[in-house]
C-alpha cells in the first residue's frame, strides 16, 4: 500500500499540519525514533530544555503569549513524571498544551520495564484527556484530536503516550479534516434562542452599583474578545476589576479600571465587589483567592456569570443568571443588544451610577497600593514600579514565579494588552516564570521578556538559564531578592507568631557569579540610587540577564484579605495588622 509512514514520521506530519513551529523537549530511550526523525523536518524547531518541567512551563509561556497550543516532547517514566507539575499548572490555568510522551514498547507495558510508568494513569486527573496509542493507524487521528481537545472549549493540556514500537511501525496517515469532529462538548456555542442576553441588558439598565469582574476567559477567547470587552466597558461606563489571570484584557491605566481584586487586590476593587448590586462575571471562576469568605461574598448583588465551562457555573458561588458560551460570541451579542435597546446608554445612565462612582473614588483615595518608601533600601514595590516605568514604552512580556513578588508585579506593573502577562495562578507553581519566559521569547524573539522573580522560586528551575544561553534568548530574570520565601514568611508573621520555620534561605548562591557561570550577564542592584541605572543597563543588554535586586527583607504584601474574611475586611498595611490580631481573627485567617 502506498503512502505508509512510520509512527515517528506521522508525529511530525501532524505537527506540520497543525502549523506547529516550535516544540520543547528532552530526549530519552523511549522517544529516540522521534528524535531521529527530527532532522527531516526543518520547519519545526526543537528547543532542548534542561528538565522536563521546564519544557512544560516553556510550552505554557509559548501558548499563553500566542494563543496557540504549546507542544512538548518527553520520554517515558521520569520524563513523563517530571512534566506532571507543568501539566497540572496548565490544567488549572486553562492553557492549551499537547504533551507527547514516549512509552516502553507495547509488549513490555505492565512488566515494570526500565523507565516504565503508567503515564496515562498518572496524568488522567491533570489533563483534559489523554491517550495511550496502541495502533499506529490511529496515531495521526488521535494526535489531531489531541490538538482539537486542547484548543477548544475551555482550553487545557492533553497528553498522547506513544509506545516505542508504535513509533517504528508503519501505518496510514489521517489528515486533520478527516479526524472526526463529532464531539459536541468541544464546540460549545451558546444558545441564542433563550432571552438571557435581553435579561442581562435589563439588569444592566436597572443597576445603580454595577461592576464587571473579568478573568482569564476573556484572554483565552482571543484578541477580539478583548476588544469587545473594552467596548462594553466603554459604552456602559461601569467600573471593571480583573482577576490575576485576566490582567491585560482591559488597559491597566484606564480610569474605569479598579485594579486587580482578591486576596491582594485593591481596596476599591474588593469593596466594589462586596457592595455592588450587579456583578457581571466574564470568564472568571470565583476562585477562593478571589471570593474570600464565601458566606459573606457580595451579599447584595445579582450575579451574572458568562463562562465557556458549564461546570464553572454555581461551583463555588450561586449565580442568578448564567450564560454558557465563548466570551467573544456572548459579548458581541450583548453589545449589539444593548446598543439597540438603549442607544446612548452611557449618557442616559450617568446619573444612575454617579453616586456609585463617588463611593469608588472615596475608596480609591485610600491608595491601598501605597507603601512607605525607604531612602536607603530598595522596596520591592518600588523596584517593580521603576521596572514598569522604564519598560512601559516597549510592549514587554512579563512572567513571574509565585509569591510576594508575583503579587507586587500584578499590583504595580500595568498591562495594556492581552497575552503579555504569564503567571501561575491556580496551581501557584514556584519555578514557573523562568522557563515560561523562555517559551515567550521563543515565540516573540524580538520582544522584551522579563521574569519578575523571587530568589527562592527561581532556584527551582534555574537550570533553564542554560537553555536560554544555548538558544540566545535574551530573557531578563529580575529577582526581588529578600532571602526569604517571602509569602511563607508573611503568613508565619501573621499566623504563627513570627516563627519563621524554614522560610529563610541561608546559603543562597551569588546570582551574579551564577549568571556568569551560565554564560549570561549578571547585574546586582544593592542601593536605591543605582536601581534605575542598573535596570537601564539590563535593558541595553541583548543577552540573557540575571538581575539580583537586593530588596528590603521584611516587607509584606498589602493590601490583603486574610482568608476567612470578607472583601470589606481588608488589611491595608502594618497598622491594620496590629489592630486586627485578635484571637478571633487568628482563627479565621
Amino acid at each position: 500500500m502506498a503512502n505508509l509512514m512510520t509512527g515517528a514520521e506521522m508525529i511530525f506530519k501532524v505537527l506540520e499540519d497543525q502549523d506547529v513551529k516550535h516544540i520543547f523537549g528532552y530526549p530519552g530511550g523511549a522517544v529516540l525514533p522521534i528524535y531521529d526523525e527530527l532532522k527531516n523536518h526543518k520547519k519545526i524547531k526543537h528547543i532542548l530544555v534542561r528538565h522536563e518541567q521546564g519544557a512544560g512551563h516553556a510550552a505554557e509561556g509559548y501558548a499563553r503569549s500566542t494563543g496557540k497550543a504549546g507542544v512538548l516532547l518527553v520520554t517515558s517514566g521520569p520524563g513523563a513524571t517530571n512534566a506532571v507539575t507543568a501539566l497540572t499548572d496548565a490544567y488549572m490555568d486553562s492553557v492549551p498544551l499537547v504533551c507527547i510522551t514516549g512509552q516502553v514498547p507495547t509488549h513490555l507495558i505492565g512488566t515494570d520495564a526500565f523507565q516504565e510508568c503508567d503515564t496515562t494513569g498518572i496524568t488522567r486527573p491533570c489533563t483534559k484527556h489523554n491517550w495511550l496509542v496502541k495502533d499506529v493507524n490511529k496515531l495521526s487521528s488521535i494526535l489531531h484530536k489531541a490538538f482539537e481537545v486542547a484548543l477548544t472549549g475551555r482550553p487545557g493540556p492533553v497528553l498522547v503516550d506513544i509506545p516505542k514500537d508504535i513509533q517504528f511501525k508503519k501505518g496510514k496517515y489521517t489528515k486533520p479534516n478527516k479526524a472526526k469532529k463529532n464531539n459536541i462538548k468541544l464546540n460549545i456555542s451558546f444558545n441564542e434562542r433563550d432571552n438571557s442576553i435581553e435579561k442581562v441588558v435589563e439588569l444592566i439598565k436597572k443597576s445603580s452599583k454595577p461592576v464587571f469582574y473579568t478573568g482569564g476567559g476573556v484572554i483565552n477567547s482571543g484578541p477580539e474578545a478583548t476588544e469587545l470587552l473594552r467596548e462594553l466597558v466603554s459604552i456602559t461606563g461601569f467600573p471593571i476589576t480583573s482577576t490575576l489571570q485576566g490582567l491585560g484584557a482591559f488597559p491597566g491605566d484606564n480610569n474605569q479600571f479598579l485594579g486587580m481584586l482578591g486576596m491582594h487586590g485593591t481596596y476599591e476593587a474588593n469593596n466594589a465587589m462586596h457592595d455592588c448590586d450587579l456583578m457581571i462575571n466574564i470568564g472568571a471562576r470565583f476562585d477562593d483567592r478571589i471570593t474570600g469568605k464565601i458566606d459573606e461574598f457580595s451579599p447584595k448583588s445579582k450575579k451574572i456569570h458568562i463562562d465557556i465551562d458549564p461546570s464553572s457555573i454555581n461551583k463555588n458561588v450561586n449565580v442568578d443568571l448564567a450564560i454558557v458560551g465563548d466570551v467573544k460570541s456572548v459579548l458581541k451579542k450583548l453589545i449589539l443588544s444593548l446598543k439597540e435597546k438603549y442607544p446612548n446608554f452611557i449618557d442616559s445612565n450617568k446619573q444612575e451610577i454617579s453616586s456609585w462612582w463617588n463611593q469608588i473614588e472615596v475608596w480609591r483615595k485610600k491608595n491601598s497600593l501605597g507603601f512607605s518608601n525607604s531612602n536607603e533600601l530598595i522596596k520591592p514595590q518600588y523596584a517593580v514600579q521603576r521596572l514598569y516605568e522604564l519598560t512601559k514604552a516597549q510592549d514587554a512580556f512579563i512572567t513571574t514565579e509565585v509569591g510576594q513578588h508575583q503579587m507586587w508585579a500584578a499590583q504595580h506593573y500595568k498591562f495594556n494588552k492581552p497575552n503579555r502577562w504569564m503567571t501561575s495562578g491556580g496551581l501557584g507553581t514556584m519555578g514557573y516564570g523562568l522557563p515560561a519566559a523562555i517559551g515567550v521569547q521563543v515565540a516573540h524573539p524580538d520582544k522584551l521578556v522579563i521574569d519578575i522573580a523571587g530568589e527562592a522560586s527561581v532556584l527551582m528551575t534555574m537550570q533553564e538559564m542554560s537553555t536560554a544561553v544555548q538558544y540566545k534568548l535574551p530573557i531578563k530574570i529580575f529577582i526581588l531578592n529578600n532571602q526569604y520565601m517571602g509569602m511563607v514568611r508573611q503568613w508565619q508573621e501573621l499566623l504563627h507568631e513570627k516563627n519563621y520555620s524554614e522560610s529563610y534561605t541561608a546559603a543562597l548562591p551569588d546570582f551574579v557569579k551564577l549568571a556568569e557561570a551560565y554564560g549570561c550577564v549578571g547585574i546586582r542592584a544593592n542601593k536605591l540610587e543605582e536601581l534605575d541605572l542598573k535596570i537601564t543597563e539590563m535593558l541595553s543588554v541583548n543577552r540573557p540577564v540575571i538581575f539580583d535586586c537586593v530588596v528590603d527583607k521584611t516587607e509584606n504584601c498589602y493590601p490583603m484579605i486574610p482568608s476567612g474574611k470578607a472583601h470589606n475586611q481588608m488589611l491595608l498595611g502594618e497598622q491594620d495588622k496590629k489592630e486586627d490580631i485578635s484571637e478571633e481573627g487568628k482563627i479565621l485567617v
Binding site: T120, H129, L132, I294, D295, G564
Partner: protein, 181 residues
C-alpha cells in the same frame, strides 16, 4: 484552633441520594476517568454497576448511586459531562417514575433445620435457588437495596456464609428513554 490559608463554611446543607447514569465509549480507561473524577473531587460512590450495552456503537452504561448536596450533585453531572468519552449523563430521580434494582447471590451454609428456614424465607420473596447441597444453598435475589439489606439481616442467624451484590441499576418507567447522542 484552626490556622489556615482557606476559609471554612459553617453552613450545613441537606444531603440527597441520587442515581446517575453515564453512557461512555467502551474503551480502556473510561471507567477509571469516571471513578477518578469522583475520588479526586471528593464525591461519594454508594454503589456502581457497569457493563457494555451497545456492542455496535461500543457503548457502556455506568450506573452510580451517589449522595451529596444539591450543588455537589449538579457539579457531578457537569463534571461528568466534560469527560471526552462520555456521551450522555442522566440523573434518575428516586421516585415512582424510576425502576431501581439490585441483584445479590447469597450462600447459606448451615444445618438442615436452618437451611429449611432459609428456603422458606426466600420462597416467600420468590427468590430463585441456584444451587443446593445437603449443607448449603445459593439464592439469587433481585430487589431493592433495602429489601436485600433486610433479607441479609434475616439470613445471618441462619448461616449466611457469603454475600455477593451488584450495584443498583436503573430504568425509567413508561415509553420515554434518555436518548443517546
Amino acid at each position: 484552633m484552626i490556622k489556615s490559608a482557606y476559609s471554612f463554611s459553617n453552613k450545613k446543607e441537606k444531603i440527597e441520594n441520587h442515581v446517575i447514569v453515564v453512557w461512555v465509549d467502551n474503551e480502556a480507561g473510561a471507567l477509571a476517568r469516571v471513578i477518578g473524577l469522583f475520588s479526586g473531587r471528593g464525591y461519594n460512590i454508594d454503589s456502581l454497576a457497569v457493563a457494555e450495552v451497545d456492542k455496535k456503537k461500543n457503548i457502556s452504561r455506568i450506573t452510580i448511586a451517589t449522595s451529596g448536596t444539591f450543588q455537589v450533585l449538579q457539579q457531578i453531572k457537569l463534571q461528568l459531562g466534560k469527560l471526552i468519552p462520555v456521551h450522555k449523563v442522566a440523573d434518575f430521580p428516586k421516585n415512582k417514575k424510576t425502576l431501581l434494582r439490585e441483584m445479590a447471590l447469597l450462600k447459606v451454609v448451615s444445618s438442615k433445620v436452618k437451611l429449611e428456614k432459609a428456603r422458606k424465607l426466600c420462597k416467600k420473596h420468590k427468590h430463585t435457588i441456584l444451587d443446593k447441597t445437603e449443607k448449603s444453598l445459593v439464592f439469587e435475589v433481585s430487589a431493592l437495596k433495602k429489601e436485600i439489606d433486610e433479607l441479609v439481616k434475616k439470613l445471618q442467624p441462619l448461616g449466611l456464609a457469603s454475600t455477593s451484590r451488584t450495584g443498583v441499576v436503573a430504568m425509567t418507567k413508561g415509553f420515554e428513554i434518555y436518548k443517546q447522542k
